[in-house]
Amino acid sequence: MDFAGALSPDNLRFILEGFYVTLKVAFISIVLSFVLGCLVGTIRYAKIPILAPVLGVIVEILRNLPLLLIIFFTRFALPDIGIKLDVVTSAIVALTLFEGAIISEIVRSGLNSVNKGQIEASRSSGLGYTQTLWHIVMPQGLRRMVPPLVSQFIALLKDTSLAVVISLPELMNHSKIVIAQSYDFVIPVLMVVALLYFSVNYALSLIARRLEAKFV
């Protein structure tokens, strides 16, 4: 073990550069997969003809494949059908599709959890279907979704590490390079990496707890 050597300013800066890519990819994927998940979840909740069942099949496929496979697919199979993506974009696309599928199920179950009586009351008060969805179902459903959504976002942030297989220059990739400098660097570097992942995810958990206390 060589803490001083492993955590030299240059190595730390390099590790943090990787962490920045992790956070960037995670943030973009969280935003995109949340929007995608809300969209798909709502479509399936509202049972829109044709669209809902088709999306249902796609969600099942994505949800039941390993993320690693989807990452490889977006990186190396899409070019075969003419879609060329660079490493960062293919990681974001893969994460968005996979996590979006899971989030859509969270959204759907959140919306479903709203009591049918509420909807009937709203409709008989003269609100249209969309108004009911927007003003009655969504506000209540979304609050209940907060805890599972945040844990999914935490999962997503950790899942970015799988993109190490396509050499995305994120935290795991950069720590792997630092570790390769010397056999004595393994433990110090992995401890720093664990600390970085933990602190940002724990912060997310704390935020979720506060939101939960406020909403639920």
Partner: protein
Amino acid sequence: MRKKWMSVSFMLFVISALVLAACGGGSGNGNGNGNSAAGGESEAGASLLDEIKSRDKLVVGVKFDTKLFGLKDPASGEVEGFDIDIAKALAKSILGDENKIELKEVTSKTRIPMLNNNEIDMIIATMTITEERREQVDFSEVYFEAGQSLLVKKGSPIQSVEDVTSGTKVLAVKGATSVDNIKEIAPDATVLEFENYQDAFSALKAGQGDVLTTDNSILYGMMAQDANYEVVGEPFTDEPYGIAMKKGETALVEAVNEGLAALKSSGEYNTIYEKWIGEAPSE
């Protein structure tokens, strides 16, 4: 009821427009650093070698995390190693300038798909020439004679694989073919297996064994880290490294082989070899 889903559809349409706008922004960013890829569609009939020359840049897939061969330096951000110097020398022989080169990170899993997607022109990444791989890619001549070898403390009586006899404690890494190889060649020796190279090397330093065996490319890396240890004897397995190129690019393979031959005859190959491996290549 029809009104119900028409109005929902409208709402969703608005949301999806927003999503598309967001996506557009995202992939725009991505493409910026993506299109520096080797590719471009290769024109029909034009060979990859012509494309490299007209592009005036050689795109090489190398390792970023392999000591001595291709290792990124966190301080400078530069990738350095034996493979890198060979790549630069080839850029010089093909394009006349060793700086007309772009290095992309590959791993054992991604290198062949990236080659086939035209993202890289060639792989110089500690890649062993095997019959299986020959079906997927074309190889240059051997540029590094890799093979399983032995690492001992300096002054050890063990100087080659013949000295590994009963009573010799051999350290090896679990799950690797190197365990089977040493058991076959030296059936009387005691083999102690470890989870990873680090543990095996620590065990050798702690005197738990007499000799550590695995690929010489890894052993040279250990030797570079601790000068009290040395690689002894010739490799006793034959796992030569070659430069891989897309199948059918005969002109490029020839250019690479010419470049390698010139490197060897000018002595530059030996200079690069000694710089990284720490000793002269064996004849």
